[in-house]
């Protein structure tokens, strides 16, 4: 899917740890924006009642990129988003480490919160990433 949007979109699927500091430093926003919402998804130490040490994420990467772009396009139709950046780790992610980082920038907080929540819900519905607990 071709990205013809004027919105700042950044999607990263990576085996590397998520560098929150670098992501925050790279933030850009225009003077009309009043809300930045970002969410960090972190690996919990238990899965289905069992203690785990990590989660191994597997992705169908070509489809992941396409489905995220479909979600971004729909999100931009629904809310006046200026920027969306999303990083998802794949491979083994240890407990307490982030597997997901999402940032949405919009003029007002209601739009930014709603869009961010909607994007994560959409990801969990259609983006082909799977997890396997590591004991």
């Amino acid at each position: 899917m071709l990205n013809t949007s004027l919105v700042n979109r950044h999607l990263t699927i990576t085996t590397e740890p998520i560098d929150e500091g670098a992501l925050l430093c790279a933030r850009t926003m225009s003077v009309g924006m009043g809300a930045v919402v970002y969410f960090l998804g972190v690996v919990r130490g238990n899965e289905d009642g069992k203690t785990i040490s990590a989660i191994e994420y597997e992705a169908f990467e070509k489809m992941v990129t396409h489905q995220f772009n479909v979600l971004f396009a729909e999100m931009e139709k629904r809310w006046p988003i200026e920027s969306v950046r999303l990083v998802h780790r794949i491979g083994v992610v240890k407990v307490n480490e982030p597997s997901l980082w999402v940032e949405v920038i919009a003029p007002h907080r209601g739009e930014a919160f709603a869009a961010c929540q909607w994007l994560i819900d959409g990801m969990k519905r259609v983006v082909p990433i799977w997890k396997k607990p590591v004991a």
């Binding site: 998804g41 994420y57 169908f60 969990k124 259609v126 799977w130 396997k132």
Partner: protein, 81 residues
Amino acid sequence: MEISVHFYSYLKELTGCARTVETLAADTTVGVLHDQLMEKFPKLTAMKKSTLISVGVEYQPRDYVLHDGEEVSLFPPVQGG
């Protein structure tokens, strides 16, 4: 026609392979291919209702008619985040 089929997540464990190639009659649908795969890999049958199917990078329903050379993927419900 030949269709390449990819399995992801625990469907790989159920089939014992990540990829197979199926020879199909023209105008075969996704649903017929799925039925054929469940005959070939009976362990897939337990996941029949929850299996998601894409052609290329788009989800497709069971009545989608396949074309020669298309790539089909079968996988369980997604779990990102």
